[in-house]
Subunit: 317 residues, 3 copies
């Protein structure tokens, strides 16, 4: 899409050199053919170093735009950014496209539902009632159980098992907010990438990224009713027990063990080999790996045990 | 159904003037053609003022029945009420009825499942594997994603998005209990009404009302794995983050912000513009809006912060 | 399968008397034609008394094997046991087998998905989009709502209601772990047995057993988003409110009342008539029934109330 056409669609003036824009991304990740935005002034420094081909910015941030980026000046970059995402949103499904390709030895139940562009590896089983959206790719030896939903453009690796009722690639939860308290959708135009040897239990939801990808890395095992928000990056060989929730953009290192009902805020960075006991509430990043954490607010498990002893004493006193 | 026939079906004596009863409702909401009940003596005053055409009451409450209401006297009104709801329960689906009506510009995937009486607006997308029960109505420009289930008689507004694996209109959780500890189903004969501009994430469940409707009001956005009980009324422009639970009949005002894993007891009334931090536990109504709440038991957020500081000190001491 | 063939498949030496092995089981439950294993030295005594026809044991436990059991000696019985479970795993579905049998008065929607060997009783309703795996049995008068998934070999009793989006019989969450931190699947070869008069809400998951069965006993009622792990035994006439989680192998007695978001660790034994208030965290077995429990760590409700009063005082002090 031409940048001039984007400006016109958003009702913004545009006078610079026109260019082709293929999508949107964050200031840190955007490339020359992508549109980015400054939705929060705390990212001013990132704006100064962005490689984005164009940026949506409020008037007061114009000075921070690097010369490489074309400027779309707006009154409320957060709201305009939301409107811009709609311009790049694909339809829920492509109704035309290549017939699904199914590898040797695979069994796709005729009652499974495949959209155009699906590519399935070898020795895969796709059971009745499973849905694979447009361009979904499934690796060798994977089993997709009944009534699983995989949204368009998502990728499932080899030797995975995705259990009944699980939804992969539904929209992440992102909105901009008007002064009147209404919520304007930020379209979620990324996807989900599930690497090899991942098992995901029943009735989980792994949201698609707003831009780029949500990742579930190789060898991770996920129990039932687990929620993973958009743009998370769940490290290799993790263990996630039932009813865990992970907020958007949170990144966990490899081999984390997360017990039941634990929850993570968004935008955290969790060191590898961290262990969380049941119902931990994690609201800050963890830099040092290999520790055991408990409670909400979070504390080291040994401190939590001590606190509980103090509380037991308090109630007896 | 004639009141005399209801009495007969329930094994109750009936000697008053017969009348047509079209359904059941609470004492406060019942109209002249509805049957109500006193299942808890704390509602005696409401009984005195009911406009119900007939009431199920225990012998000791006979005096409180207003003259406008016919009386069905019983030994255990709570259990009899449960039995009565069965008389008004429609079948899970109507197998006969009008062919679905689909508005201009809509795409209903042939692998979607529509029951008789469905009415779909313009420019709607209903994806493969989605189920719309008898008489479901869907407003213009709405998208129903794959493997969504909408039970009979529910209503989805315009410009909504209902994500994969979500269930709208399953039975609310209501039982009467025998002296032997068995649970007798209270049939859930109401529906769910989702107003315009609502987005509901993946694998949520919004239960149908026992009588009348469960409401999700205009502009509210709901993340994944959220549970909304029967007869809730979720106000306009709310934000519900993942894994929140709302107990039956709880009413939230407009623009409440509810963070992840927060839970509400049943029968609460929450003031508008209330904010709840993650994993709040709300067991009492909130009269004053605009505040921030935390913890379980619930307290103002600033008190919760102070409590955590005290506890941190306690564990160090 | 011959024991010699099992040994060969696992790469283990075998020199004893060969025998037919039909499956695997725990040391306590295994019978003469079953293979068992010592995966944790704390079960040494159970090994001494096992009736298993054969056992997988590490070298240092050889002395504890009773004479009735053939020995498969291995370096790491926990990992070898996981590998052995794969030998007994049935395919996700039988593609050949008897046509489904449907009792008189039943309605199976043509858009429901039944596998070979399904047997359905009288007056059953199976709605569109519901999936019944190979050999699933459904009792009289039961309703299976749309987009329910029942995995192979599971049994649903009479007069049950299983609501939309619920998954019965997905794999339990069980893995052995390598020294490199990888997780090796323990195949879940058991099933789920749901007895009569059970209602299960929307978007629940009841996992199949690793061996034998997960049980939901007669008359139990389960709300939405409830997770029940593998090999649980949920007693008669229980009440489970929304978003409860029950860890694997936990056993609850009859008439337990479990409020919303409560969670149980695995391998607990909970006395009958126990009540848990909202968000209780249960990590130890409960021997004395009839009490009310709260909090995490769990305490008697009256103690929890006292603790909250102390904390309220603390924050004021």
């Amino acid at each position: 899409m031409r940048l001039s056409a984007i400006a016109q669609a958003l009702g913004l003036p545009f006078s610079g050199e026109d260019r082709e824009i293929t999508g949107m991304n964050t200031l840190a990740d955007a490339r020359e053919n992508e549109l980015s935005f400054l939705s929060d002034s705390k990212h001013l420094k990132t704006l100064q170093n962005t490689r984005a081909g164009a940026v949506l910015v409020d008037t007061n941030a114009l000075d921070a735009v690097p010369p490489s980026a074309a400027v779309l000046e707006c009154e409320n970059a957060a709201l305009t950014m939301a409107a811009a995402t709609a311009l790049f949103a694909p339809p829920p499904t492509d109704r035309d496209g290549a017939d699904p390709v199914v590898g040797a030895g695979s069994f796709v139940d005729p009652r499974a539902m495949l959209e155009p562009g699906v590519v399935i590896g070898k020795n895969v089983t796709v059971m009745a009632g499973a849905y694979l959206g447009s361009n979904v790719r499934v690796g060798d030896d994977t089993v997709i159980f009944p009534n699983v939903t995989v949204y368009r453009d998502c990728i499932v690796g080899a030797r995975c098992r995705i259990h009944g009722g699980t939804t992969i690639g539904a929209d992440g939860f992102g909105y901009a907010h008007t002064a009147q308290g209404e919520h304007v959708k930020i379209w979620q135009n990324g996807n989900v990438v599930i690497e090899d040897d991942v098992e995901i239990g029943a009735n989980c939801s792994i949201d698609r990224a707003v831009f780029a990808s949500t990742f579930i890395r190789r060898g991770t095992k996920i129990d039932n009713h687990v929620h993973v928000g958009h743009n998370c990056d769940i490290g290799e060989h993790g263990i996630f027990v039932a009813q865990v929730g992970v907020g958007g953009s949170t990144k966990l290192g490899r081999n984390c063990v997360v017990s039941g009902q634990t929850a993570f805020s968004d935008h955290l960075d969790i060191a590898p080999f961290s262990t969380f006991t049941a119902r931990a509430g994690v609201t800050k990043s963890i830099k040092e790996g290999g520790k055991v954490w408990s409670g909400y607010p979070l504390m080291e498990h040994r401190v939590w045990v001590k606190l509980q002893a103090k509380l037991a004493k308090l109630v007896k006193g």
